[in-house]
């Protein structure tokens, strides 16, 4: 699996990371939730990480400075690693013989369960960093809480990922403060970038029947309980950046049900092109 759609999977790869050597049996009896719900959850988290990695990876060589190319490539790589573990787990639970590559590169648009926030196009660097702030702050709270999940595989992925995401958030925070509390031009663009991504933040905390069941089984963290921390943490950054909180009642949604925005089809076309044009191609 690759971020830029230009590199097929290396052949002869070792077993993808799990928390133990043997795959967890589908329908994880310890937690009492159905394997369908668990597959959905692993896909939601995995698709968020995968699509965010794809968006970030495609910016490399177009960023304002060399250090930024390296930083964004590293963040994308961490997210891709998280996506690989989560999609591999989803494939094992599903039991239809699909692995990370089939799930990432052969599903159609309506089968992707990522939030719309991660698929938004990077119109401006301020959009990229504003979005990364909202997303990494969410991931940090989520992964830390997920470390206590009754699902051992998810808890293992989360414990690893939480430490990485703290660096992503730190990076986004520095840029949002630097641009927001910068020149008149950078302040205006950062405020505009934030306004563009802000409404899509609500979907991160959306609770449907699947999420409710997973929360009750203590597999997924209580999203409602995570939201105040997310809001106050971002609020602190905005205050330091001299940026105004965004007032909006528009809360787009649908990603968790496979409904996506216009740019998502183009993103998938680029990400999946090689695999679809040359099925079975090996590196």
């Amino acid at each position: 699996m690759t971020t830029a759609g230009s590199r097929p999977t290396p052949a002869g790869r070792p077993t993808p990371p799990g928390t133990g050597g043997a795959p967890t049996p589908p329908g994880n009896r310890a937690t009492g939730v159905t394997s369908e719900d668990l597959v959905t959850y692993a896909l939601r988290l995995g698709d968020d990480a995968l699509i965010m990695a794809q968006r970030l990876g495609s910016l490399v060589t177009n960023l304002p400075e060399l250090e930024e190319d390296l930083a964004v490539a590293n963040i994308a790589l961490d997210l891709l690693g998280q996506a690989r573990a989560l999609l591999t787990y989803a494939g094992q639970l599903e039991g239809k013989g699909r692995g990370e590559d089939e799930l990432a590169l052969e599903r159609d648009e309506r089968e992707f369960l990522n939030v719309q926030l991660v698929e938004l196009p990077d119109r401006d660097f301020a959009v990229t960093m504003g979005r990364l702030l909202l997303f990494s702050t969410y991931q940090l709270g989520l992964y830390r809480a997920l470390t206590g999940s009754r699902d051992e595989t998810l808890a293992g992925v989360a414990a690893k990922a939480a430490k990485e995401v703290a660096y992503h958030r730190d990076h986004a925070e520095h840029w949002v403060v630097r641009l927001g509390d910068g020149t008149e031009e950078s302040h205006a663009r950062m405020q505009a970038g934030l306004a563009e991504v802000w409404p899509y933040g609500a979907e991160l905390f959306e609770v449907d029947a699947v999420q409710e069941r997973l929360e009750r089984a203590e597999v997924a963290p209580d999203l409602a309980a995570l939201r105040p921390g997310w809001e106050s943490s971002i609020g602190e950054v905005l205050a330091e950046a001299t940026l105004e909180p965004v007032e909006t009642s528009w809360e787009p949604s649908g990603g968790r049900r496979g409904l996506h925005t216009e740019s998502f089809g183009y993103l998938l076309a680029e990400m999946q092109h090689l695999r679809r044009s040359h099925p079975g191609a090996r590196w």
Partner: protein, 164 residues
């Protein structure tokens, strides 16, 4: 059988990190165990430094080859994520080798990890001239595990193996 397993362990432990070749996977704390399965296979367990670390695939392959070359026909390399790797697992030898290679060893991590800010190493020592008058250039470097710093005293840039 015990001494045999020690040989397998020694072979696996000597594999180096392709991205930081001064370190063996034992120095790094990436090698988590070498055991014998009931059916006579040698099972080597490794853990990634970062979720997306591309070196893991190379390391897994080299471990398998090394243990095979030491005379073990059946080798399995398992990658586990839990417990998550931390730079605190770097051995003292590993920290010394990093410094000798001009890479500042990581600060010890605090295990609290509840705030949203990452720890900043204050007064990181320049591995070239020893000055603590250094500044961070970027928290992300040429590999996932490194940050880039610059020394105000000698003017040289240097890498830090960043705390995780």
């Amino acid at each position: 059988m015990v001494s045999d397993l020690e040989e397998a362990r020694a072979a696996a432990a000597a594999v180096t990190d392709p991205e930081v070749p001064v370190l063996t996977i034992e120095d790094l704390g990436v090698l988590r165990g070498v055991e014998e399965a009931g059916d006579g296979r040698v099972v080597v367990t490794i853990t990634p430094t970062y979720s997306g670390c591309p070196a893991m695939e190379v390391i897994a392959r080299q471990v398998e080859e090394a243990v095979r070359a030491a005379g073990f026909a059946a080798v399995e390399v398992r990658t586990v994520l839990s417990p998550p790797w931390t730079t605190d697992w770097l051995t003292e030898a590993g920290r010394r080798k990093l410094a000798e290679a001009g890479i500042a060893p990581p600060a010890r991590t605090s295990r609290s990890g509840t705030g949203t800010r990452v720890p900043v190493a204050l007064g990181l020592r320049c591995p070239r001239c020893g000055s603590t008058s250094t500044r961070i250039v970027s928290r992300f470097g040429a590999t996932a595990c490194k940050a880039v710093h610059a020394c105000r005293a000698c003017g040289e840039p240097f890498e830090e193996f960043k705390a995780l």
